[in-house]
Subunit: 108 residues, 2 copies
Amino acid sequence: MEQATLPATARVARWFHALSDPTRVEIVRMLSHGERCVCELQNVLGAQQSRLSFHLRVLKDSGFVTDRRDGRWVHYSLNREALDEIAAFAAAVRPGKHAGSCETACCS
Amino acid sequence: MEQATLPATARVARWFHALSDPTRVEIVRMLSHGERCVCELQNVLGAQQSRLSFHLRVLKDSGFVTDRRDGRWVHYSLNREALDEIAAFAAAVRPGKHAGSCETACCS
DNA sequence: TCGATACATCAACGTTTCTTGATACAGGAG
DNA sequence: CTCCTGTATCAAGAAACGTTGATGTATCGA
């Protein structure tokens, strides 16, 4: 049934797109250590504020991070479930699972 | 130490980029059922030949698929290791692994 | 209320990516 | 050798993406 409920292709593509940029991969790595505010990401990554804000929005829109306002600061943190979904997709399409069950239909 | 051997950021971004397009996600799904030739992918996906060839090249260059020529036909198949690496990355950055070990350095 | 700080948004621009149609190449059939 | 089929590559245009600098918004402190 996992198979039957595989998420829509467009949705999967959007997940992967969210992690297809080096800056966003770095952000995810930093957030894997815990919640971070924009200013710290900015310091560590050496990125301009508006650039970081852009990438954080992409990650947020795709469900990889959530934000929490605390006074002047906004703290971002990773959404574990999104990462799990990525891993689940990779596992679901892993070759071998369907071996022999679906024959090719051309080039006969 | 798992931490120390995480693959380079740019490499990770390239993996995810390879799966950031709906056509390529579809291709990967089809190949998860076994080896396929271009003409069958073409039929099933309803895509033009040059378009498919373009996406297959992206997948091949990023290590997700391998090709095998058999007479006139070229058969593509998934590379299980690339999928495993994706899953491994997702697992490595999963929040909670480092909980509490890396305090924030600003917004004090 | 005023200024400063943290962050988001916007417009403009250059770059990359994707699609299409044309052409090239390779292998098999005759 | 010549034609046909399967696939790859290329050039051109369109669309999506990422960066930058400017501006907007919210919160805090004085």
